[in-house]
């Protein structure tokens, strides 16, 4: 257990002002084709047979909740529950199929640079690309890139192509990018899992620091321990539906009971 101190929970949740994020009856449906890739040829063949092409995957179904300013929200749930999908929708990358999302503030998402964009480019080049895509100016990005390099502490690898990175190094870089983008709303999707113990301590400290200035934080994690330690609120998703919205401990208890594994040592250590 690394995130022992839980000072982020000390920050007051503000219900008197509009919520940082408001999710209203949100549904997201992926539309994939039966074919591996949709092609003109198969479209014509299908037209001849009168088949329907798309298959719909309902990743999020009628989800509604508000995230007040000051919340650090843990999001837990089994694989395929729709956690990453929800994050991508809040970040504005995925358009809702129905429903509505309101976000007040600037989003920085760790899904942004998860593994980088172009593995042939160096870490620094990827950071610059990501920053520019988020709308930063060139000088801001250059300055930020140095801070990011310093925080990620991956040494000379910052100027090496991304393919040469270990997964832990990539995770360190991704985390550093997310926390250095001056986010109002920070979203972290399973980014801490690959870092080593020393980096996790550093990351936890940084996140607590950020919570002082950030309006809200979303932490998607399978390590229930870090959700309990870092969050003051929690949702549990299952198959795209909201199962429970409660304080982290209640959610975790319910979730683990649901999974029938109990809070065993493995889950705790796995953080």
């Amino acid at each position: 257990m690394i995130f022992l101190s839980a000072s982020s929970q000390g920050k007051a949740v503000r219900t008197d002002i509009p919520p940082a994020v408001s999710i209203q009856d949100l549904s997201i449906t992926y539309r994939t084709t039966f074919e591996k890739v949709p092609t003109l040829r198969s479209a014509i063949v299908r037209l001849g047979r009168g088949e329907r092409a798309v298959r719909q995957i309902k990743a999020i179904q009628n989800l509604s909740f508000d995230v007040p300013v000051g919340t650090s929200l843990g999001i837990i749930g089994a694989n395929g529950a729709g956690k990453s999908t929800l994050m991508r929708a809040v970040a504005g990358v995925l358009a809702p199929s129905s429903g509505r999302i309101e976000v007040r503030g600037r989003i920085s998402s760790l899904l942004a640079l998860g593994v980088g964009f172009n593995s042939k480019l160096t870490g620094r080049e990827n950071v610059v690309l990501g920053g520019l895509a988020q709308g930063m100016s060139r000088s801001e990005v250059a300055e930020r890139a140095n801070q990011i390099a310093e925080f990620a502490d991956i040494g000379e690898f910052m100027d090496m192509p991304l393919i040469t990175y270990s997964s832990g190094m990539a995770a360190r870089l991704a985390f550093s990018v997310g926390v250095h983008m001056d986010p109002d709303i920070l979203m972290i999707d399973e980014a801490l899992s690959a870092g080593d113990a020393a980096f996790r301590v550093k990351a936890a400290a940084k996140m607590e620091e950020l919570m002082e200035s950030a309006r809200a934080m979303f932490l998607v994690s399978h390590s229930l321990g870090s959700v309990r330690d870092m969050c003051n609120d929690c949702v549990w998703l299952h198959k795209g539906k909201l199962m429970l919205r409660a304080d982290p401990q209640t959610c975790i208890d319910a979730y683990t009971k649901f999974l029938e594994v109990g809070e065993n040592a493995f889950t705790m250590e796995d953080m």
Partner: protein, 303 residues
């Protein structure tokens, strides 16, 4: 820092507390249809540095910024020009020894058409090949095909001096201020390419094999355009002038034709080329980019 999907409302809250200074992003379920275009264009311009950097880094990762990379950029279209030159010589029965001017003529058209080809094929793959950028970041997607056009343009630039050198050595065509009119047609070509790249980029999301038809399509288009041949016979008063009106339906007839007349023959081409070329470029830009923008919210669930 405004995102566009779903439209954005800049909320000036009455509350002046600093933590409420920010804008409100609303993402709703409007999947197709156009966003607020003025806002979109503003955002596009604001994030142009991203497209520039993206294009620059793709040039870098293709090693085209090295000496041999640059050399290859020039060598590749030149060799292609030589291939077409031999083809034309064989088909028309000209003597190779008298073929210098012909080679220069082919280069003038081919180098410009390579710009269109490069933009079209890179633009077609720009969204489906965008990978993590598309699936993880929110930005005006039109920047992807535009970056492809920028790359194609920067690959085109080094071939210009080669053309001028060849013209100096092999051709006795005149040099004059009229050559500057080529800039106009180059701009038209870039605008047209941008529209085409956007159109193909969006199309490719729905039909992934579109790009495998593309090379054949582009090749046929090239043969139908004044790239290897001069537009003169089709002009009013020429030997095939009955096809003139039909030819104007090919945007490249005006754009490549006007380019060649300016840069190769150093003459002011007919006003028709100026007007028809401009009209085609604008139509292509509008059709391509509006089609793209109306569809772009749909891209991330389909990739």
């Amino acid at each position: 820092m405004r995102l566009l999907r779903g439209g954005v409302i800049l909320a000036k809250t009455a509350d002046q507390r600093p933590e409420l200074r920010d804008e409100l992003h609303v993402y709703d379920a409007r999947r197709h249809g156009l966003p607020d275009l003025r806002q979109y264009v503003r955002d596009l311009i604001g994030r142009w540095p991203f497209a520039a950097e993206f294009s620059r880094s793709s040039i870098r990762s293709a090693n085209t910024d090295t000496v041999f990379g640059q050399l290859w950029l020039v060598l590749n279209p030149t060799l292609l020009a030589v291939v077409y030159f031999i083809l034309v010589v064989i088909l028309t029965g000209k003597k190779i020894s008298e073929g210098g001017p012909l080679l220069v003529q082919i280069c003038s058209g081919l180098f410009l058409f390579t710009l269109l080809q490069g933009a079209a094929s890179a633009g077609a793959g720009s969204v489906t090949g965008g990978g993590a950028l598309i699936s993880r970041m929110a930005f005006p997607r039109l920047l992807m095909p535009l970056a492809a056009v920028r790359t194609a343009f920067y690959r085109f630039l080094p071939t210009l001096p080669v053309f001028f050198l060849l013209k100096l050595v092999f051709s006795d065509t005149p040099w004059g201020w009229e050559m500057l009119l080529g800039v106009y047609f180059l701009v038209l070509m870039v605008i047209f390419s941008a529209g085409l790249a956007a159109f193909l980029g969006a199309l490719q999301v729905y039909f992934r094999d579109a790009s495998s038809f593309l090379p054949y399509f582009l090749r046929i288009w090239m043969y139908l355009s004044p790239v290897l041949w001069l537009p003169d016979p089709f002009m009013p008063g020429g030997s095939k002038s009955e096809l003139y009106l039909l030819m104007l339906f090919n945007p490249m007839f005006s754009i490549c034709g006007g380019w060649g007349e300016a840069i190769l023959s150093s003459k002011v081409s007919s006003l028709t080329f100026f007007i028809v070329g401009l009209a085609w470029s604008i139509v292509m830009l509008l059709v391509g980019s509006l089609f793209f923008v109306a569809r772009e919210r749909d891209f991330s669930v389909r990739i």
